[in-house]
């Protein structure tokens, strides 16, 4: 019984198992054709989910009600900022990246200001902020058709033996995030606040400062994601971040992070991202329609959470 519970207590393991199963199903269907290419493509796309997923994970771990709904608008704006600053010239890539990061960080700061100064629940604060950001983006990025600098576009598409460079960097970043979560005062504080904000406050944790850092971190990662997406898909777009609202929450939860906060898991985010991307790849190789694809994705998300079991109420 304890052994069973031990396995069930690591729901993130299931996400990797799921990713493997889905990949095997897809290559069985194609009779082994394109097995490697599928992994390369999955890694390339999973990177973007992991980047925002890690930011969202820290936010969600802060406790119930904490979620960053401004990520899609943030990503859209950052993609436009990055492309405009880089202006198609390789020499401006670093400046453009910094600008995108700054745009994301500014959004994170604004989010936290709304939450802190107006005492708005984070879910509504980030939602209202996202409306405003969206307008800024529409107005700022109107008719924007700047291609990314060739060097930057190549960089985001670079591969070594079928492994995208971005995936390697993101894996390193995930390891760093894992260390930050489990081994630093900041990470421990995030988890402590998620478990019991009042106890954390009484224990002398600077709750406000930790929450501030977390929202800025999430915003900054959204900004980074915007720049990378614009490089990978060769151009900025207002809607470029839309799918990352639900995806960022889904990968965090499927990856074994508790929605109630106080329990986070970094490797699970990679597993869940690969799982979701490969699931879509599999459904595409089966040639099903968009409607069926959505229904299956939804049922799989529900199936995963039912199989992984809910948390016993932590009070």
């Amino acid at each position: 019984m304890t052994a069973v519970r031990g396995v069930l207590a690591k729901p993130w393991l299931w996400s990797f198992v799921g990713a493997l199963v889905v990949w095997l199903a897809a290559i069985t269907f194609t009779r082994g054709y394109g097995a490697g290419g599928m992994i390369t493509a999955a890694l390339s796309l999973a990177v973007f989910m992991v980047v925002v997923g890690i930011g969202q994970m820290f936010v969600i771990t802060l406790g119930p009600g904490n979620v960053d709904l401004s990520l899609p608008a943030n990503i859209g704006l950052a993609s436009a900022v990055a492309m405009k600053t880089m202006a198609g010239s390789d020499s401006m890539v670093a400046v453009g990246l910094v600008a995108a990061l700054a745009s994301g960080a500014a959004i994170g700061i604004a989010n936290y200001l709304l939450i802190w100064a107006l005492r708005i629940p984070p879910i509504i604060a980030t939602l209202s902020a996202s409306f405003i950001i969206q307008s800024v983006d529409i107005s700022y990025g109107r008719g924007l058709q700047i291609k990314p600098p060739p060097g930057f576009a190549d960089f985001t598409n670079l591969q070594f033996f079928g492994v995208p460079l971005l995936a390697i960097l993101t894996a390193l970043f995930a390891i760093a995030a894992g260390i930050a979560l489990h081994r630093t005062i900041y990470g421990r504080s995030v988890v402590a606040i998620g478990q019991n904000a009042r106890a954390a406050w009484l224990a002398g944790i600077k709750v406000g400062r930790v929450r501030f850092i977390t929202y800025v971190l999430s915003g900054t990662l959204g900004g980074l994601n915007g720049a990378l997406l614009a490089g990978y898909f060769r151009g900025a777009n207002v809607d470029i971040g839309n799918e990352y609202l639900l995806a960022s929450i889904a990968v965090v939860v499927i990856g074994g992070t508790s929605v109630a906060g106080g329990k986070a898991n970094v490797p699970g985010i990679w597993g869940a991202s690969l799982f979701l991307v490969l699931l879509l790849t599999m459904l595409n190789t089966f040639g099903v329609s968009a409607g069926v694809r959505l229904v299956v994705t939804g049922l799989v998300i529900i199936g995963v959470i039912v199989a992984a079991g809910g948390q016993t109420a932590e009070r």
Binding site: G65, I115, F131, Q134, L246, V259, V300
Partner: protein
């Protein structure tokens, strides 16, 4: 999170019925009147029978979806699928309900049944509702696309007749809003089982120890949400006359904002049906009529919406800070 810590920091018992608390309860009405005054000032001609009919028509489905969300929030859950659910109901209404009424009615009843099952599943397996409804939002959207791949379909005649009603003196949307708000208010705030349902959000342990089934309260609230989601979809198609698989997508966020604007809380069973309906009307009016009259360029309309939301919430924060 903030609501929990705030409740812990400030003893709520001392703030029983002070003046700021009364002001706070009146805030949804206040923000709605402010928007109306702004519209009246910018365009006096809009303040007519026909003007209200046009401006508030689309507020009815939003109000119904907001109430659906409110039922879920009452028991401390969140429904991220209500928007796509309304969209799917819309697609069923514009196709099956017109061409094969029996199948259509069965499908809509089935939808409500799915909501009841979700409530049971979430309670029994202790699942996070955010994730379950996130999954359901994909399912409803997928089903809607399968049913209606291209925008189209047509509302049944009886439904068009209903939403096209022109009662004397008071425009139909206002009558509908008042009826809906009063019915839900009486049901949830004035009946004994309504108190149990709210208690299941406020103090589940106490309700369970008093011998009430928490499973039943969860199922009841999700079923109610399903019913109001279906009503919202019906009303929406009655007004727009045809459907589109994406027609309800914006409703998820609108409904959450409407409940909060109406004085509801995310946890603790503190909700207000009348406030929620007013919140929905405020959002619907702020969304387009006000902005059109203010000559705000289309680029900035979404942003202005966000700004209005922030201003109202800021006012509320200011008042509730004094409450403690």
């Amino acid at each position: 999170m903030s609501a929990a810590t705030e409740a812990g920091r400030r003893p709520a018992i001392f703030a029983s019925m002070t003046l700021p608390r009364a002001v706070r309860a009146a805030l949804p009405a206040l923000s709605l009147s402010l928007i109306l005054i702004a519209i009246a000032y910018l365009n006096p001609r809009a303040m007519s029978y026909f003007g209200f009919h046009l401006m508030l028509n689309l507020a009815i489905p939003i109000a119904l979806a907001t109430l659906a969300q409110m039922f879920i929030l009452t028991v401390n859950e969140l429904d991220l699928s209500i928007g796509t659910f309304v969209g799917f109901v819309g697609c069923v209404t514009a196709t099956w309900l017109r061409d094969a009424p029996l199948l259509g009615v069965a499908a809509l009843l089935g939808c409500i049944g799915v909501y009841a099952l979700l409530g049971a599943l979430i309670y029994l397996r202790n699942l996070p509702s955010i994730v379950v409804t996130l999954g359901m939002s994909f399912v409803w959207q997928g089903l809607a696309i399968l049913l209606l791949p291209k925008p189209g379909g047509k509302a049944p005649e009886w439904l068009l007749g209903l939403t096209g009603l022109k009662p004397p003196f008071v425009p139909f949307p206002i009558v509908a809003a008042i009826v809906i708000a009063v019915v839900v208010h009486i049901g949830l705030m004035r009946t004994s089982y309504g108190a149990i349902l709210r208690g299941a959000g406020g103090n589940p342990n106490a309700i369970a120890r008093a011998g009430w089934s928490l499973l039943k309260t969860k199922i009841a609230m999700f079923t109610l949400a399903g019913i109001f989601g279906v009503l919202s979809g019906l009303a929406l198609i009655g007004i727009t006359t045809s459907a589109d698989a994406n027609i309800g997508n914006g409703y998820t966020l609108l409904s959450i904002a409407g409940v909060i604007l109406g004085g509801g809380e995310f946890v603790g069973g503190r909700v207000s049906p009348i406030g929620a309906v007013m919140g929905a009307l405020t959002l619907a009016l702020a969304a387009s009529p006000l902005l059109t009259f203010m000559h705000i360029p289309p680029d900035w309309q979404v942003g202005a919406n966000g700004a209005i939301l922030i201003i109202v919430l800021a006012a509320r924060a200011l008042i509730s800070r004094r409450e403690g």
